[in-house]
């Protein structure tokens, strides 16, 4: 938002595109999915710009859209993923054209699996902190929570992810 202006434009929202992308990356299984989700977030935000009452909260509002879009996507794509997992080789988690594909790293695949298996409440706190690097106050504003609740959820999420990765390593050895 430009100083003195009380409306927000798409250009104003696009300033936060990296933050939106990082949130999507935390929720998504791979880069391509994250980019698609980020685009969807901006399409939704553009459609809903008129509903944005207070331009000062544009960033929180945009990040909230990102979080909702990603959680919706995770919920609706689960049956499709289960079908793919059942009938297709699980090689779909690779990047389309990236030789430096992070999803190709088995450790990263384990991390993704651990994050995706978190309950939504813990997952969103984890992603907003570890991927989007938001402060507890910012996460609280985005999720409508007190900072103490954010910290509590974040602690549980970190413990859960660490335990899951530990278990996976033990299974490998």
């Amino acid at each position: 938002m430009v100083e003195g202006r009380n409306t927000v434009t798409l250009e104003d929202l696009l300033i936060h595109r990296e933050g939106v992308f990082r949130i999507c990356l935390g929720f998504a299984r791979d880069y391509a999915e994250a980019e698609d989700l980020a685009q969807e977030v901006y399409l939704k935000a553009h459609r809903g710009l008129a509903a944005l009452k207070n331009p000062a909260t544009a960033r929180d509002w945009l990040f909230r859209i990102a979080r909702n879009t990603c959680l919706d996507h995770a919920r609706t794509s689960r049956p499709r993923r289960m079908l793919l997992f059942r009938f297709v080789r699980p090689a779909a988690a690779t990047l389309p054209d990236g030789d430096d594909a992070p999803a190709g790293d088995p450790r990263l695949a384990l991390l993704k699996s651990a994050v995706l298996s978190l309950p939504p409440k813990l997952r969103e706190a984890f992603v907003l902190r570890e991927y989007a690097h938001l402060s507890y106050e910012d996460i609280g504003r985005t999720l409508g929570l007190r900072p103490g609740t954010v910290m509590s959820r974040l602690n549980r999420a970190r413990t859960s992810v660490a335990q899951k990765l530990q278990e996976s390593r033990h299974e490998e050895h």
Partner: protein, 184 residues
């Protein structure tokens, strides 16, 4: 918040997250995301008039159209067509007549078995349908009555009066013998 001690992410996991994030972010920066979003918006704007016109259709109208379509499909399947294969219709009818209160549908089969009146709803078959119904009624009456053997004897006037008087007398006796009931 003061009582909660922060539990940091183990360093190896934090490093993994940072690696993923930095690689993906670098890649994201190298792409024209703004252009991509604007192209997607333009495409969405092109499709908007169609979506808007669909959105203008009231919900009750869409629901009514859906119900009508469902009724039409059911009617198409359930009403037997002249000269057509009755397999599906027969199966639907057999299922329907088993439902409580719908056993009257069995009349269809009787009508259909009697003659060409196979489509009772069609106006050009209405007369044929009526004749079929009459024939069914006759058949049903004949079946339901106790069959008589030979020709019934014609009653004379005296015999008829005798039956009537006897009938009235029995009725009177019964009404006198029975306790009086107050109505209401």
């Amino acid at each position: 918040m003061k009582n909660i001690k922060e539990n940091p992410l183990p360093e190896d996991i934090a490093r993994l997250v940072r690696e993923e994030e930095s690689a993906a972010t670098a890649r994201f920066r190298g792409r024209d995301f703004t252009g991509r979003v604007k192209r997607a918006m333009a495409a969405a704007a092109d499709a908007a008039p169609v979506r808007a016109s669909l959105r203008r259709v009231p919900r009750w109208m869409a629901a009514s159209a859906g119900v009508l379509a469902a009724v039409a499909i059911v009617a198409y399947v359930a009403v037997p067509k002249r000269g057509a294969d009755d397999g599906a219709a027969e199966r639907a009818r057999a299922g329907l007549v088993r439902l409580p209160g719908l056993d009257g549908l069995d009349l269809w089969a009787k009508v259909a078995a009697l003659g060409p009146a196979r489509l009772p709803i069609a106006s050009d078959h209405f007369a044929a349908f009526l004749s079929g119904m009459k024939a069914v009624a006759t058949t049903v009456t004949t079946v339901d009555l106790v069959p008589t053997e030979g020709k019934a004897p014609r009653l004379g006037f005296e015999k008829l009066m005798e039956i009537l008087i006897r009938d009235r007398a029995v009725e009177k006796a019964l009404s006198l013998a029975s306790p009086k009931l107050k109505e209401g």
